[in-house]
Symmetry: C2
Subunit: 205 residues, 2 copies
DNA sequence: CCGCTAACCTAGTGATCGTTAGGTTAAGCG
DNA sequence: CGCTTAACCTAACGATCACTAGGTTAGCGG
């Protein structure tokens, strides 16, 4: 009759290292659900099974915590994208495989997707952190475009914008349509984006 | 030695109607620059040449003002997109013309672009307002896709997501690269997106 | 079993901001 | 020229929230 309504199970003391990890995970969830500005420290602390001041024993500020969340998520995402990249197959296969790995990661980390692509903030520092994190991740796309494009740098930039935005949009759309199987997303992305890349592939490759 | 640093010229009384318009325009700017949460009512009022309480003589709340800003901007955008749509030319020409009109509008309303595509907010009501406004606008894209696509509804949805996200991303990218001429944006969008549409055009059209 | 460290707590503080109360004055109309 | 209205003001309220001060206790090392 008196169970807690939220997830904060038996309430034990924890080593600093473990507590830190719990906080980062809770913060990822809350940032994803409510955005940076909408995520109160108290709520993150509560879901981590502690009170707010304890959070400040582990992180110097909300912004620092956010940066850590972004770094962790983008590291995971980049790793997923790059895993299938070293093989010697033709470009289309590599692109398809990378798309599949990318969406597989999105599927695995469903709840954190809005953190990566949609977190809303008016805070200058948090905005900058997002821009930095996004730039690092976007550079993973470059091989598919720069290896292939010979004409113009601006065209490259715009094509990267289009590809990145499309993947972002599909991931968020998937978030609202969880029943759709991954292969549908991969096929849609491949169908829509590959022609734009293919038309630029020099006959050599 | 004592000129105002910001734009709030000679400070006269104004008719309610005119003041309302001034407020909407100031609000558009401030929302675009700082997001919904980051835009203080005081700042919007100051740029409108009044104090904050006067704003509440014209709008019942910050949210209502935001909704009005969104409605006005999306109405303009939709109008720009639809103007060139009734002609009987082939689909590719119509698509190209619509893209050009769309980017022309973006160029004309530079400062308001982030309001349409990037405003950050943790406020539930403002989020909902954005979703509603976006949905209305996105439906303008449908004719290019549904007229053309025969196979599957989910594919249609995903293609619309991709097109809308690409245009949004290009508009925001343009915002950071204002020296690039419009035709470059139009060509980039056409090159990248048309193949995905063309591949689905039934031989009849 | 005892003491010390570090994991944890309650109770603020100060800043920001949406919104309201209540009054002042400009300007159109008779 | 006065009078009324509505455009405008200053001042403050109350809520939220990041962050801090200062104390309490669990649990491990000796």
């Amino acid at each position: 009759m008196s169970r807690e309504p939220e997830a904060a199970p038996p309430k034990r003391r924890m080593s600093a290292e473990k507590r830190r990890a719990v906080i980062v995970e809770s913060a990822t969830e809350v940032f994803a659900e409510r955005g940076y500005d909408g995520a109160p420290i108290d709520e993150i602390a509560r879901r981590s099974g502690i009170s707010a001041p304890v959070l400040y024993d582990h992180f110097p500020s909300k912004l620092a915590l956010f940066q850590e969340v972004l770094a962790a998520e983008y590291a995971r995402l980049r790793a997923a994208w790059e895993v299938t990249f070293a093989t010697g197959e033709p470009l289309r296969q590599r692109f398809a495989a990378s798309l599949d790995a990318w969406f597989a990661h999105v599927e695995r980390r469903r709840k954190s997707i809005p953190v990566l692509f949609q977190v809303a903030t008016a805070d200058e520092g948090a905005r900058q952190a997002q821009v930095d994190a996004t730039r690092a991740s976007r550079s993973a796309l470059a091989p598919f475009v720069t290896d292939v494009l010979t004409t113009d740098e601006l065209d490259t930039e715009m094509l990267i914008e289009i590809i990145a935005a499309s993947l972002r949009a599909l991931a968020l759309w998937w978030h609202d349509h969880p029943a759709v199987p991954r292969v549908r997303l991969v096929d849609a992305a491949l169908d829509a984006l590959w022609p734009a890349i293919e038309r630029r592939v020099p006959p050599s490759s």
